[in-house]
């Protein structure tokens, strides 16, 4: 469902260009869970943001196909409505925008794109309550502004809530496990496993094996210096955990 081919991308303009991605290839089929690991600054978040349609990066070579369609020309919102979801490494706080209302708007945009009727506030509230309960989230998070004053772990849980509500075909989760306590990690992993299914693709960007204990990946990739330097099965993650990246980065 996701085909990234020879993706080269940079940020900046003219004489201050930083090349970040140097020929990434990645193929995610329906039903698969991929994990991407790699040293800090290797380009993991950049890759995820480019797939989601972040306007700051320039793609100089290569293409990204989603269900056979080249999505590089699409805006972020269009990609989202086609079923691509990015769980941010650093979710922004948006004071003044109510969390639940925002979710309803996003949900209804998605439904509209699928030719379905918009959910009325009461119906949506029911859907939301159920999803929140599954993630053990306090109802008060509905009343709060998006991520405003949320703890690090609460922000990550909120990302998973958004994912659960939008039910994307492809979820890219950028370090959603970072900053979670042991119990929260289980809950978040539970959320990811609920999404998992034969029609879904999941990409987990992570530094730690512990998430992968709960969400077992089919493939593990190591990204370094803007390239995928090694791909393998779930054992690769265990090796990375034991040996670090030095043996891969030469």
């Amino acid at each position: 469902m996701l085909e990234v081919r020879n993706l080269n991308a940079h940020i900046g303009e003219a004489d201050s260009v930083t090349q970040i991605l140097k020929g990434i290839n990645l193929s995610v089929q329906p039903g698969e869970v991929h994990a991407i690991m790699g040293p800090n600054g290797s380009g993991k978040s950049t890759l995820s943001k480019i797939i989601a349609g972040h306007p700051d990066y320039s793609v100089t070579q290569g293409e990204i196909l989603f269900n056979g369609e080249n999505i590089l020309e699409l805006e972020a919102d269009e990609r989202s409505r086609k079923g691509i979801f990015l769980g941010f490494q650093y979710p922004v706080e948006i004071p003044g925008v109510n969390n639940a209302e925002f979710l309803r708007m996003a949900y209804n945009q998605r439904r509209k794109a699928e030719g379905l009727e918009e959910a009325d506030p009461l119906d949506f509230e029911e859907i939301l309550d159920a999803k929140m309960k599954a993630l053990d989230m306090d109802g008060r998070f509905k009343e709060r502004a998006i991520n405003e004053g949320f703890s690090g772990g609460e922000k990550k849980r909120n990302e998973i809530l958004q994912m659960a509500v939008l039910d994307p075909a492809l979820a890219i989760l950028d370090e959603t496990d970072s900053g979670l306590d042991v119990d929260a990690l289980k809950i978040v992993a539970g959320g990811i496993n609920r999404l998992r299914g034969p029609s879904k693709g999941i990409v987990l960007i992570t530094h730690y094996q512990r998430l992968l204990d709960y969400v077992q990946p089919d493939f593990v990739h190591v990204l370094s210096g803007g390239r995928i330097v090694k791909s393998g099965g779930k054992d690769l993650a265990l090796e990375v955990e034991k040996l670090g990246y030095d043996w891969l980065v030469k």
Binding site: D77, S80, G96, A106, Q109
Partner: protein, 532 residues
């Protein structure tokens, strides 16, 4: 009781006039009109006006305003002083004319030859503007004139015309010059405030207001519902209003002020008709331990061509509280001015302004906060969204007197610029004479945060909806404070109204699906400015 006997004496008392002969003439005519009970008050306002002079291009306090545009409309002309009694293009049933009850009824404004009856409005016409939280406590003013027949002030507030507080008649002409009995000191206090006024436009409003309104909250009264002041302008050319709000000691009250334009666009004549000048001066006297909250809307349903001037002059005594929230969408020229004296220890004043401007609309704020005694607090928060070629300004001065130690004063101005052609100025000034104070001011101007925008879009919101949401969020902080002014179950209708007025002005530019389950208050078919 003819005024002719008074006028010459009055003229002699006044030093060399700095005003135009036409304006002096208008003042003299107006003083002749009566009611005589207002003589002292008008004399005080006129004296202030002569002392200050009319605003001009060099006026410090009008630095961001094109005074040339304002001046021709500022003084009432002979024509404007006789507003048409019917609006063009209306076929609404006539409401009882004001003052028809005759001169003996003290609560009914007297009509003189110059003060022609105000444009008639029917109860049905005003009904949509009555907020649920003030169903039983509202006062209606039409072109600045209180209309008791359309009002229902309720029990908690004492609402009457200022002149009604004075004896209706008196055998000696000289006796007309003074309010009597208990009111004497009060009127002297109001006169003193008006005489010390430094804003010439406010002086014009209080001088030419035909029947100023007096709103009193008795001592210790805790008013459960707010009083709604409904100011209607009918497109008759001008509206001068003076409202005195007197919050008695230890009282708690809320006053909602809603400005509504019922002017119908006069298709062909519209381009040539003079703009409506809506000029309202509110004087608030807040006594020891009293708390007053005021929420004020912009010019709802107003065509963009109007000139709107608002002034709040307030004096706070010991431990008094004043909270003001004003939200609007600007007009051809809108200016809100706040002048507050913190005159009793422990007093606290808070001003919050929210404006969403598009097209060529303007919004200017002028603030003068004087900390005269120790231990007072003042806060200011102005948030403006400026789109297209709109203009806004905040000109704010905080003065801390020599012995006003332990003062806490701050001012924050945030502008969200949606267009490179929009302009927002700020001129903060701190004049601190005491040494043990906490004062701060800050001004920011910025665009929408791209990271926030990307976040929303990455969840499927189209860019326009994302921008709209962020823009609304920017001013939500201020509008939310209007909600807090409500205490009844319905207490937030005005907040929602303000919210929607601001939203509507954005909607043309940023097609948004109505956010949330926000209840859409149905307003009026003339709602919504016509902007490019």
């Amino acid at each position: 009781m003819t005024a002719a006997t008074i006028r010459p004496r009055f003229m002699r008392e006044v030093p060399a006039p700095a005003l135009t002969p036409a304006l002096e003439d208008a003042i003299a005519r107006h003083m002749d009109e009566g009611p005589f009970a207002l003589f002292d008050i008008r004399t005080a306002a006129a004296a202030a006006l002569r002392r200050i002079g009319l605003p001009h291009s060099g006026s410090e306090d009008f630095s961001f305003i094109r005074t040339g545009e304002l001046l021709p409309h500022l003084a009432p002309t002979a024509v404007a002083a006789n507003p048409q009694t019917a609006r063009p293009g209306t076929d609404l049933p006539a409401a009882p004319a004001t003052g028809a009850a005759g001169t003996s009824a003290t609560a009914t404004p007297a009509t003189g030859p110059q003060s022609a009856p105000v444009t008639a409005l029917s109860a049905a016409e005003i009904a949509p503007w009555i907020l649920p939280e003030a169903r039983d406590s509202y006062a209606v003013l039409v072109d600045g004139v209180y209309v008791p027949e359309l009002s229902r002030p309720g029990e908690e507030f004492h609402v009457q015309t200022l002149e009604a507080a004075a004896p209706p008649d008196s055998p000696l002409p000289g006796m007309h010059l003074r309010f009597q009995g208990l009111h004497d000191a009060f009127v002297t206090g109001i006169s003193a405030l008006l005489a010390a006024e430094t804003d010439p436009v406010a002086s014009i409003a209080s001088l030419f207001a035909r029947h100023p309104l007096l709103v009193r909250v008795p001592a210790k009264r805790v008013a459960a519902s707010p009083l709604l002041l409904l100011h209607f302008t009918t497109g008759s050319g001008r509206s001068d209003a003076l409202t005195v709000v007197h919050a008695g000691p230890q009282s708690e009250s809320r006053v909602l002020i809603r400005h509504v334009s019922l002017a119908r666009p006069v298709s062909l004549a519209a381009t040539t008709a003079p703009p409506t000048l809506e000029n309202a001066h509110t004087v608030a006297l807040i006594e020891d331990g009293a708390s007053l909250r005021m929420v004020e809307s912009g010019a709802e349903g107003s065509p963009a061509e109007t000139l709107n001037f608002r002034k709040l002059t307030a004096r706070l005594d010991r431990n008094a509280r004043l909270q003001v929230v004003a939200a609007h969408t600007g007009s051809r020229l809108m200016r809100q001015a706040f002048a507050v004296d913190l005159a009793g220890e422990g007093a606290e004043a808070e001003f919050n302004g929210a404006a969403v401007l598009s097209g060529n609309r303007q919004s200017h704020n002028h603030v003068l906060v004087r900390h005269l005694v120790p231990h007072c607090v003042s806060r200011q928060l102005f948030k403006t969204v400026a789109a297209d070629q709109s203009r806004s300004s905040v000109d704010g001065t905080i003065i801390v007197a020599l012995d006003a130690q332990q003062t806490n004063a701050n001012q924050l101005i945030n502008n969200l610029m949606l267009s490179d052609e929009a302009r927002a100025d700020s001129k903060p000034r701190l004049m601190i004479h005491a040494d043990d104070v906490k004062c701060s001011h800050g001004a920011t101007s910025g665009k929408l945060d791209p990271a926030q925008q990307f976040y929303l879009e990455s969840r499927g919101l189209p860019p326009a909806q994302a921008r709209g949401l962020l823009t609304v969020a920017f001013i939500a902080e201020v509008v939310a404070k209007a909600g807090k002014a409500g205490g009844t179950p319905d207490g937030e209708a005005f907040r929602d109204t303000l919210d929607h007025a601001l939203l509507d002005s954005l909607r043309n530019r940023m097609p948004m699906s109505a956010p949330s389950g926000a209840k859409v208050m149905k307003t009026n078919e003339t709602q919504g400015g016509k902007h490019a």
